[in-house]
């Protein structure tokens, strides 16, 4: 009887003991967002998209990101292949969550910069398995969109990680993001999400993203490979980063409509 009581007590108290050992989910999210990503960055991004039959499309881009105070501006210019060369995407991401982001897309076939809706953030970015929100957040996370809890620890690719379960704050946000739940494996030392599993709006597995080849560049931890696998379509996307440069000053003029039109 005594043993049964002890067993029951252990069973009831273990989760809270475990939880006490683990950092709070919001704290982990804050650590992720506090990680240094440089005032600005220039990098080459090669996108490899493969469908379930193995057919591959490869797109090469040059990406620029720069902070203007709390405001983050990102511009991506397509270099190849020919049929989408000179396409360019730009986003102004404001610190004030009450203000919608501003997004533009330059389509060379029309020779016009088109304003696009920022509430479309759960839509997939130009044929990839990453959403516009994924592209905007890069290696950061959105604090306001989710409630979080830490549910465990696990080794991923030989690194200790905390497992954080994030749930959209409400149905409208879930619909915007296209996810009902996200589970992230966050590196316990350098606060990079090494793996993330996304559930669709019907709570079925949607996609998994792996962040790999994490190396320091000019003193800043940088992912050189991000792989996304869509479980519904069996389509995969690899983002391969190269020529990462945090030190070269980027002209403010690069983040303008006229720069989008003109290209690199």
């Amino acid at each position: 009887m005594k043993q049964l009581i002890i067993t029951l007590l252990l069973t009831l108290t273990t989760p809270s003991l475990l939880a006490a050992e683990l950092p709070d989910g919001d704290q982990i999210a804050s650590n992720i967002n506090a990680r240094d990503e440089g005032h600005s960055v220039i990098r080459t991004l090669t996108m490899e998209m493969t469908d379930k039959r193995g057919k591959q499309r490869i797109r090469k881009t040059r990406g620029f990101r720069k902070y203007f105070g709390d405001e983050k501006r990102t511009a991506i210019y397509y270099l190849s292949p020919k049929n989408i060369k000179d396409t360019a995407f730009m986003i102004y991401d404001y610190a004030d969550m009450a203000i919608d982001d501003d997004q533009w897309l330059y389509l060379p076939a029309m020779r016009k910069v088109r304003r696009i809706s920022a509430s479309d953030r759960g839509d997939y970015f130009l044929g990839t398995d990453f959403t516009y929100e994924d592209i905007k957040q890069e290696s950061k996370v959105s604090i306001a969109d989710y409630t979080r809890k830490t549910i465990g620890k696990e080794m991923v690719d030989g690194h200790q990680t905390f497992i954080v379960e994030s749930t959209p704050v409400d149905k409208a946000t879930a619909k915007e993001l296209g996810y009902s739940k996200v589970i992230q494996w966050v590196d316990a030392e350098i606060w990079i999400v090494r793996k993330a599993e996304f559930a669709g709006l019907r709570n079925r597995p949607l996609k998994t993203i792996y962040t790999r080849a994490i190396k320091q560049v000019q003193g800043i931890w940088s992912a050189h490979l991000i792989e996304a696998e869509n479980h519904k379509t069996r389509h995969t996307t690899k983002f391969i980063f190269s020529d990462i440069d945090y030190q070269t000053e980027i002209s403010d003029d690069l983040f303008t409509e006229r720069a989008l039109r003109r290209g690199l």
Binding site: K55, R57, P81, K82, L105, A109, S119, G127
Partner: protein, 465 residues
């Protein structure tokens, strides 16, 4: 979400054109000379030579020039459903070269060779070749400078042209050709100068090229009596050569655009001082021994355009639009009492568009276009007010490798229109296949309805290397 494939993402028209009166009864206009009279000047070889020589000199002084080349090949088959026959079997090759000369100087040259085995779209010849674009881009401080033959695009509307009139347009295939293909590049000096949070664009366009129209038995020659002036019965017509401006400096067009981004709004103010790309068809009536004679002299006229454009996003919606006020338009009139056969009027035009991004991989866009003539006289070939609506529905599938879309344009005044369904498939990075249809309907006096016998299926393969 958004079509990135080169092609008919959006088509457009300028409402309404004033086509050449090649179909006028009794016209003695020599058909072989029509290109000379009506079409834009090909070449402007003097400018090309100067720029080419400059470019070669620059290249020769810079051993480190980076050169990239590409070639786009497009094979298009059009089948007339009304006549059960092939309308066109066209091959277009577009070579392109970009030379990065260093020191922030880049040279771009784009050519086009087009051949049609059917000769029905343009009956004058099966093959044409052209240096489409040839320009040098450079940066001076924070300013951009583009010098050479180029396309300059203004406005926020898709296809419906209020401000996008810097370059003239080819109407050889009505509005069915790609926008990029149908716009006529011009020799121009184009500078963009940042001033605080504004960008001032200054244009100087010494190139006197104008709209190019289908004529005679070309497939898309305008025939509607509301578009083509018709003389009374028994009146002979004498068509004179077009009076084109030909002074490089004095007759150059010029324009300015001020653009800014403020509180979420993309805003521009535009001004263009130019020759209207449509000639005024000046008419002189006389009595001869053979009876009444109408002498028609096409003359290009100066015009001012003052306008503005805007766009902003609100949740799932994007609002965009443009407005333009054009002075000194000369609209043909059938009224015999009208001495010169044209009515001079100003025109106010605007487009308002709403884009909706509510569903994943879906894009829905609608536009309303209206134009108003200030001086509407009896007999004038245009209504005082003209209203057209457009709708575009597009759905992407399979990570944007397959796109289905429907573009619909409808004129509310005459209840005529055009529907353009299209299905495209991106086979790989280089190859795109598409299948579409162009379906005209409505009153044959209308801009669209006049082509209701021109319904067609079109299929194409495009290879970009």
């Amino acid at each position: 979400m958004t079509c990135l494939q080169k092609g008919r993402c959006v088509v457009g028209y300028e409402e309404p054109p004033v086509p050449p009166p090649i179909t006028l009864p009794g016209s003695s206009f020599p058909r072989d000379h029509r290109k000379h009279l009506w079409c834009r000047k090909k070449g402007s070889s003097g400018w090309a030579l100067i720029l080419f020589a400059t470019a070669m000199m620059l290249i020769s002084t810079m051993a480190t020039a980076e050169i990239s080349t590409s070639l786009t090949a497009n094979i298009e088959w059009g089948y007339s459903t009304e006549e059960n026959s092939t309308e066109k079997l066209a091959t277009t090759l577009q070579p392109e070269i970009e030379i990065d000369l260093g020191r922030k100087i880049k040279l771009t040259a784009i050519g086009r060779i087009r051949s049609d085995a059917e000769n029905r779209i343009d009956t004058t010849g099966s093959t044409d070749s052209e240096l489409r674009e040839f320009y040098i881009e450079t940066e001076i401080g924070r300013s951009f400078l583009t010098l050479g033959k180029q396309q300059i695009v203004w406005g926020k509307a898709d296809g419906l042209k209020v401000l996008d009139i810097v370059n003239p347009q080819s109407w050889r295939e009505f509005i069915l050709d790609d926008f990029d293909n149908s716009r006529t590049p011009l020799w121009a000096l184009n500078s963009e100068i940042p001033i605080a949070d504004l960008t001032l664009q200054l244009l100087w366009l010494p190139d006197q090229s104008y709209h190019e129209y289908a004529t005679g038995s070309d497939r898309y020659t305008f025939t509607s009596p509301r578009l083509v002036p018709r003389p009374p019965p028994d009146v002979n017509i004498s068509m004179q050569a077009a009076q084109r401006p030909d002074r490089t400096i004095q007759d150059a067009d010029w324009g300015a655009r001020l653009a800014t981004f403020r509180k979420g709004w993309d805003l521009t103010l535009n001004y263009l001082y130019h020759y209207d790309d449509r000639p005024a068809l000046l008419r002189q009536l006389s009595i001869t021994t053979n009876g009444p004679l109408a002498t028609i002299t096409p003359r290009y006229q100066r015009s001012h355009l003052i306008g503005s454009s805007f766009s902003n996003a609100f949740g799932d919606l994007t609002l965009r639009g443009e407005v333009g006020y054009t002075t000194d338009r000369y609209i043909s009139s059938n009224a015999i009492a009208d001495i010169d056969g044209v009515v001079k009027t100003d025109e106010l035009s605007y487009v308002i568009g709403l884009d909706w991004f509510g569903f994943s991989d879906t894009f829905i866009s609608t536009q309303l276009f209206q134009s108003h003539l200030n001086n509407h006289q009896p007999g004038i070939l245009r209504d005082k007010r003209n209203t057209t609506i457009t709708a575009l529905l597009r759905q992407d599938f399979y990570n944007e490798t397959v796109t289905a879309e429907l573009l619909w344009l409808h004129n509310l005044d005459l209840d005529d229109g055009l529907a353009r369904p299209k299905l495209s498939y991106q086979m790989n990075d280089n190859t795109t296949l598409w299948l579409g249809a162009d379906i005209f309907y409505g009153d044959q006096q209308g801009l669209f309805g006049q082509f209701k016998e021109r319904d067609r299926f079109v299929s194409a393969v495009e290879i970009a290397l």
